[in-house]
């Protein structure tokens, strides 16, 4: 009990010293991000607000290309020993470099930590410590054409039945002109992972010692995906393209794509609806996507690290995560944000957000295994082969399991 008190006291001292250090002199921090032109003004506004509140801190925003480019750059910078102060990171990027990060959670109040929505606390916790904090988070939801789908499907069976019903060869030339649904298996294997979660399945066992993707739950998920294949447009392009071309009636996609999907629906002259993903055999969970924020310990002064933590905490504030969500199509990441009047008003006036918000609170994140990126690629390949009928669900999962097994070593 006494040692705990000392620990808490020690942490508070470090925390206060950090704040004092930040408050003392000017400090410049770099923030590496992968936000495209549509999000940059919003991010800049938030950073400007932060700098107005902490005038001694200068934040240099640095765009680092897409997520793949950003990951390469972080890896290179870690090896070279000159990482930025703060950067956007995916969960699995963090696992191999967790030792050179400055755990944000150790410098947050209990209230702040408890405010982060539960599904996101788990995915930002490494070795029992909240190391990173959620930032630009989106959730998989069902988009549908209101004229063709008056009531969206609520469970797997309805989704399958409606997909079948809506798939038509209108000119009778033997080629399907309108698909009930659509998939981008190679680009978006998260759709399979969604199904997998809804069966209660997983890629790996809890302790990462065994591959479980090919067990009965995995097979159930893949068989369900395969049953949708005849009524699905399988493409590698953005689904919004097919939506605009009236080729698909409904599809599951990230909430971050709302802007583009809605534009596509408007261009096609129809109204778009958003619903939760159809309920699976076990639950109605959906995959949370997007990155978190990591503060680097390496090559940073104490003042820089403290400023990085301050920025991360600033971005978690209800008003800021709500602003980020409203402007960018992402979802708030804290409970207080969902309960805020601002967000409630926003949801009340933006019908599509109701499903997104509800889904977000029932979301799951990717696993933290350092080889998740490679596993994702393996799953994407198997998922695509099954959806293109090049492999049976059993074959697809068996080959994926073998390759994932190698990635565990």
């Amino acid at each position: 009990m006494r040692s705990t008190r000392f620990c808490v006291l020690g942490l508070m001292v470090v925390f206060l010293f950090g704040l004092v250090a930040v408050a003392e002199g000017p400090v410049t921090i770099t923030f590496w991000h992968a936000m495209s032109s549509r999000h940059q003004p919003n991010l800049q506004k938030l950073v400007d607000d932060f700098m107005a509140e902490y005038p001694n801190v200068t934040v240099e925003l640095s765009y680092q290309g897409g997520y793949g480019d950003l990951q390469q750059k972080i890896n290179a910078a870690v090896v070279a020993g000159n990482p930025p102060t703060i950067a956007q990171v995916y969960e699995n990027w963090v696992t191999p470099i967790v030792d050179i990060l400055y755990p944000v959670g150790l410098h947050m109040t209990e209230e702040e930590k408890g405010d982060i929505i539960d599904g996101l606390v788990r995915s930002n916790t490494y070795n029992g410590v909240l190391t990173t904090v959620p930032f630009n988070k989106s959730i998989m939801v069902l988009y549908y054409r209101k004229d063709l789908v008056p009531i969206p499907p609520t469970d797997w069976q309805e989704y399958l039945d409606m997909s079948k019903e809506l798939t038509v060869d209108s000119d009778g030339d033997g080629t399907i002109d309108q698909f009930g649904t659509g998939f981008r298996p190679a680009a978006n294997p998260e759709l399979f992972l969604n199904f997998l979660e809804e069966t209660g399945g997983s890629i790996l066992s809890e302790d990462w010692s065994k591959v479980t993707i090919n067990n009965s739950k995995g097979l159930q998920a893949m068989e369900y995906a395969a049953s949708l294949a005849p009524y699905s447009l399988i493409t590698s392009e953005y689904m919004s393209n097919a939506f605009q071309a009236n080729q698909v009636c409904m599809f599951i996609d990230t909430s971050a794509g709302y802007y583009y999907n809605n534009q596509a629906a408007e261009a096609a002259g129809c109204e778009m609806g958003v619903a939760r993903v159809p309920m699976g055999p076990v639950n109605q969970k959906s995959m949370i996507q997007g990155t978190n924020l990591a503060v680097f310990d390496k090559n940073q002064t104490q003042a820089q690290k403290d400023a990085g933590v301050l920025l991360a905490r600033f971005l978690l504030r209800a008003e800021n995560t709500v602003y980020w969500a409203e402007k960018g199509g992402y979802q708030p990441v804290t409970k207080s944000a969902y309960e805020s009047e601002e967000w409630e008003n926003w949801v009340a006036t933006h019908e599509y957000q109701q499903a997104m918000s509800a889904q977000m609170l029932d979301g799951f994140s990717q696993i933290l295994h350092p080889n998740y990126g490679d596993m994702r690629y393996v799953i994407a390949t198997a998922f695509e082969e099954v959806m293109l009928a090049e492999a049976t669900p059993l074959e697809g999962l068996a080959s994926a399991a073998l390759e994932i097994e190698d990635l565990l070593e």
């Binding site: 590496w32 765009y63 290309g65 390469q72 070279a80 919004s240 605009q244 996609d253 583009y260």
Partner: protein, 283 residues
């Protein structure tokens, strides 16, 4: 019938042949130009028209403001300046070093020449991606990170350029060199006054390929720089795309602006470029 005159039939045949030839050329030209036409037209469309099916070739309302919006997304003025500085300096530098090295490999005798050349060619087989992290570490330790040195100095030599010019220089008869040496011409003078002018098409090919490569370079610039003041046009173009969608009309507007300098360069050098490609057998 006088063989010096063409009959009506043969004239007609000749005209028909020409007509077919021109039609084929026109069709080929149209196919080649179609992506450019699509790019320009898309740059002037409204967002909702971009992916419309069936495709809408000509915009309803020409959106010239797409260019302004695209230009304002990032400091493109600075990006263009950087692209020019880097493309021009690396092109001049690479051509100079490649000429010297290619001459040595083609016309000089020295110990281990073929082995060194084979090692150089071997480096072409190492994927660039594999070297990215080691190169980043090297650049950082040299203190060149986020500086022009990182974007220029590593690109002042090229094995491909050396190989290309060496092949060309080897086709120049050794007798020319012997005659020049007998007349008291130094190697360097022979290189600049005889070999280089004779190899103009090949040198122009190396220069143009280098300029294009530098102008389009994306990953190296992105990795080796962090501030906007050091970035180039291709990095600016990537801003219009994200994981979930692309602002095509703005991307196309910025792309139109980005290809103008390359287009102008090609218009002025196309004769040498095509000649160089034809004579060196590069495909």
């Amino acid at each position: 019938m006088n063989s010096g005159y063409l009959t009506k039939e043969s004239l007609l045949r000749q005209h028909t042949y020409r007509l077919i030839l021109y039609l084929l050329l026109f069709a080929g030209c149209a196919i080649m130009l179609l992506p450019f036409f699509w790019m320009v037209m898309t740059s002037l469309k409204e967002e909702s028209e971009v992916l419309r099916m069936p495709p809408q070739w000509i915009p309803k309302n020409w959106q010239w403001r797409n260019y302004l919006r695209a230009w304002n997304v990032a400091p493109f003025g600075r990006y263009f300046f950087n692209s020019f500085v880097i493309a021009i300096t690396t092109t001049i530098g690479e051509v100079a070093t490649c000429i010297l090295a290619a001459y040595a490999f083609a016309k000089m005798r020295f110990f281990g020449k073929n082995v060194i050349f084979a090692i150089l060619l071997g480096t072409l087989m190492i994927p660039g991606e594999m070297l990215l992290i080691p190169n980043y570490v090297t650049i950082t330790r040299l203190g060149w990170y986020n500086r022009y040195e990182a974007l220029i100095i590593p690109w002042l030599a090229s094995v491909f350029g050396i190989f290309l010019l060496r092949q060309f220089f080897r086709s120049i008869p050794d007798e020319l060199q012997d005659a020049a040496r007998i007349d008291g011409c130094s190697r360097i003078r022979f290189l600049w006054q005889i070999v280089a002018p004779l190899s103009k098409p090949a040198i122009m090919t190396v220069a143009l390929l280098k300029f294009l490569g530098s102008w389009n370079a994306f990953l190296w610039v992105l990795i080796m720089t962090s501030s906007e003041s050091m970035r180039t046009v291709p990095v600016g173009l990537s801003l219009f795309s994200s994981e979930v969608g692309t602002a095509y009309e703005q991307l196309m507007a910025a792309s139109v602006l980005a290809i103008i300098p390359v287009l102008i360069l090609f218009l002025f050098t196309q004769k040498q470029f095509i000649e160089g490609v034809a004579r060196t057998g590069i495909k």
